[in-house]
Amino acid sequence: MTRVRALIGKELLDLRRNRAALAPVVIVVVMSLVLPFLIVIGIPLLTGESLGREPDLVKVSDVGASAASASLTPEGRIQVFLFQQFLLLFLLTPVTGAMALAAHSVVGEKQGRTLEPLLATPITAVELLVAKVLGALLPTLTISLAGILFYFAGIVALAAPGVAWAMASGRSALLVLLVGPGAALVSLQSALLISSRVNDARAAQQFGVLIIIPLTVLLVAQFLGSMWLSNAALALIGAGLFGIWIVLTLVSAALFEREAILTRWR
């Protein structure tokens, strides 16, 4: 644990001195913040067209509406529905943002010629890989969570009365605290697994980004109302993602070939 903490500390220090590496994460978070408010609050305000007049939106917003939404106006229920969907955008933030960091991690150490002295310490492959994933995830997750706080603050300030309260549901907590980090861990671990098998960060990044596809499918399905995931389903998905991460970590450690990395990579 000490060694994992030491290496995470190093990763965080390194990022603090290379803030440009986190710029894409900040940009995605800002976009995730601006876009929902533009659609849910800005456009109806500019056009004078209330969202509650759209029969399709009224219909879809009733799907999976919580008890807390029942007392809201149709406009308020639609806002809850849309803000819930846009919350999924924040799931993608740690994935997209940390991907480059994770994909570059092992390759970067090798190219920087820092891997060999690191491997000459008592650190194990599992410790190295866990530290690398968490070192990439923690800063991006922090930025993403900060974005979510602003998101909720914006809802409190700008949305219809009661919308923020209806949003503060178990569903939101599951998405933010379980599904999001779980998806990020699986994605980053995949990138790291590839990163320790190829000597090109770009290849690792391309493979790691594949995890975004099922997340995007989930997002679109939610929007179309064709698939509404219950809280139990979300909890199951979250737990499943953490399980997959553990398995992936063990597979990565088994496939981590110190010898090949040291002797064949250039």
């Binding site: 010629r113 060999e116 040291l262």
Partner: protein
């Protein structure tokens, strides 16, 4: 302390190290010499537990290096890699701090201060590694290698590219480590360095070509020539020298002669020169430079 027994390492069809056997004892410095591609770095990596031998075995302090023992044994080894391998964006202190934690040092700050003082880089602790000169980077890498007080030191080209003053400091440090009971294996291209610091020299060319003290290695290539310097004109004593070697000659201010048996002929020559009234300044067999021995050994392969 360091044992390599019949160690072979293959990369595909290529044999990088072939049936290498040697030991480095406590309080001993062994220099590993060899041309590029001779297997020095592969040997170092195997001894450091970074790559496994294809055949044979390695032991550190009596414990066989295996997958199970590797992590524990690595904590007893200080491995200086060919490149300093510092994290550029971290300061000197931060680089050392991470390694202190990786090695589980309980008094990390104290140990870091000690190695910074040892290498006289305390005032550089807050500088980022990227800003350091090559020599200072190497000092930091050496400091990192000694941070956890390893009893086994594996140093790959420790003085490569360093100025003479720092090089001398590194040599002094190795002698101190030897005095402290460490087993030190130094890979080097610098024959002068090997001769100065090593108790024994291992010449590697995929397989172990020679392993002996520098003096013993030089004796292998002895020319059988004697150099004699006397007070006054050496030509005065040419007659005495020619009793041993008819082809004896004056070479500058010395007499030179060859003999097939130095042990037999040197006392005879001295006796006859003294009898002839010569005041001897020096009588010595001509010894080849270690470089000549090394080239002779390597070129013979």
């Amino acid at each position: 302390m360091i044992t390599a027994a019949n160690v072979t390492r293959r990369f595909g069809a290529r044999v990088a190290v072939d049936r290498l056997s040697f030991e480095v004892g406590r309080s001993e410095i062994v220099a590993l010499l060899g041309p590029n591609g001779a297997g020095k770095t592969t040997t170092m990596r195997m001894l450091a537990g970074l790559i496994a031998p294809s055949a044979g075995w390695i032991a550190i302090d009596g414990v066989a290096m295996t997958r199970a023992t590797g992590a524990a044994l690595r904590s007893r080894i200080g491995f200086l890699t060919e490149s300093p391998g510092l994290w550029d964006r971290l300061t000197v202190y931060e680089n050392l701090r991470v390694y202190a934690e990786l090695f589980g040092l309980s008094s990390a700050d104290r140990e870091i201060r000690a190695v910074l003082e040892l290498f006289d880089i305390t005032d550089r602790a807050a500088e980022r590694a990227a800003e350091l000169s090559k020599g200072t980077k190497q000092k930091v890498a050496l400091a990192r290698t000694l941070l956890h007080h390893p009893k086994v030191l594996l140093l790959d080209e420790p003085t490569s590219g360093l100025d003479p003053e720092i090089t001398r400091g590194v040599r002094r440090l190795l002698e101190e480590r030897r005095a402290a009971g460490c087993a030190v294996l130094v890979s080097t291209h610098n024959l002068d360095e090997a001769e100065r610091i090593a108790d024994r020299v291992a010449v590697l060319h995929t397989r172990l070509v020679a392993l002996d003290s520098p003096a013993a290695l030089r004796r292998r290539l002895t020319t059988g020539r004697l150099i004699v310097r006397v007070v006054g004109d050496p030509a005065t004593y040419l007659g005495e020298a020619r009793l041993i070697d008819a082809a004896a000659a004056v070479d500058g201010e010395a007499l030179t002669l060859s003999t097939a048996d130095l042990a037999r002929d040197t006392p005879r020559l001295v006796a006859s020169l003294v009898a002839a009234g010569a005041q001897l300044l020096e009588v010595r067999p001509e010894m080849p430079a270690l470089e000549d021995v090394y080239l002779h050994l390597v070129e013979d392969l």
